[in-house]
Amino acid sequence: MPQVIPRRPLSTRRHFLGSAGTAALALLSAPAWAETMVDLPLPGGPGRRPLTTEFPQKGAMILQRTRPPLLETPFEVFDQSVFTPNDRFFVRWHWAVIPTEVNVPTFRLAVRGHVNQVLSLSLDDILGLPRVELAAVNQCSGNSRGYFLPRVPGGEWSNGAMGNARWTGVRLKDVLDRAGVKSGAVQVRFKGLDEPVVADGPHFMKSLDIDHARDGEVMLAYAMNGEQLPLLNGFPLRLVVPGWYSTYWVKMLNDIEVLDQPDTNFWTKTAYTIPDTPHASVYPGESGVKMVPINRMVPRSFITNIKPGDPFYAGRAAAARGIAFGGDAGVARVDFSADSGKSWQAAQLGKDEGKYGFRQWQMQFTLPAKGDYLLMVRCTNSNGVAQPDAPNWNPSGFMRNVIESTPVVAS
């Protein structure tokens, strides 16, 4: 029987404030309090979230959930650099039993299952393998879920459940080759050190097809942006699956199992599935749709320097800039519209840091007369796939990539 004890301790913070008395509370001026909250414009609300600095190795993050942690990157971070700093990179865990201590000398990665040679690799062993590095976007399947209409349950993210990092590590292929994959292998399953709170709860595991696992791009990362991973982003090892949603990017990876049968575990077969339809879209209430595991990402783009309602002067040149990514392919072009999508112009693209990463873009534009405008931005990837005009909908709130619109006013 699982050992589950309802957690009902006295909040230490409340206790502290209570004993400190009203004098201490009076010192918290209204503006200081206001700075600790953000208001996400989720339709129907609630959109207020604390901005928290209480998590280890993390700067100010939008608190979506304390336990297990769901931390969102404040959107202004994406305007500051093409790579998302490690201490601002979003965090998402499924189960609350997360090791708070990882010991480098004793950590081992198991490689087992349908292999010739079972391996138990130390981090030194892994650091000794050929090093690879690539830039890639890590994006939650449910990024932007809070904008689905009708609203759907889940982590009610705005657009900050994504980030771009330069990942350093080793090829999964090289690790599998050391073990020697036997013929007849069909999938590879990945598991981390996190554990279910209830003993019979499904341990978080994800699988990739064997050919995908051996494509030479999927990697085991021991560094992001040149530093070891923050614990909450998967220290010491994290799977990197370029172009695929982050549900596959298993954190604190310590177990790789080669399977000779398709994986039937809950997280691969049942959870994280999408309608097998264009844009993974269905009508609310639609049933009988074939479901498939979520997989490749789709293109997205964002304006990062202009907020809804920002004021502009009619007839005066202005600048927009932002980020785009192609999903499972590079960014071919980014187009910008200052007239609600009636006309589009190609934006100037920034340096190409790699096809799976963010690409910065910028655009000069002039709003011709006083009035309300919708600024829009659209990414087309190198496979020719462009962001759609209409939002998709599915009951899990996955794969949103509609063209983003930012209302502004010219006076």
Partner: protein, 110 residues
Amino acid sequence: MMRNVLLLALLAGVALSPFSGKAETGVSLKSVTVELPAGDRMFPKGPGSDAADDNCLACHSAGMVLNQPAMPKAAWEAEVNKMRDAYKAPIDPKDVDAILDYLMSIKGAS
């Protein structure tokens, strides 16, 4: 926390620095010990809040629920069933109605 790290290192009989080898990148990995916030806030008091506290907060903090949009009863029922059936939450059957009533009182939609 630092003292614990030192103590652990001594107990483990390993050198403090470096903990591990250096990759060609210059990336060297150092053992990490952190503390995570408890997330122990209770649900706002109301009829059924005790049932919600007792059955929901073992797996996740209250904020997960409080940040949800208003939803119809059928949607909340599906959520409770998912927690029990998919994630194996040991929800006391006699508490289910109270939990649903509470969820509808704070996050209900018609």
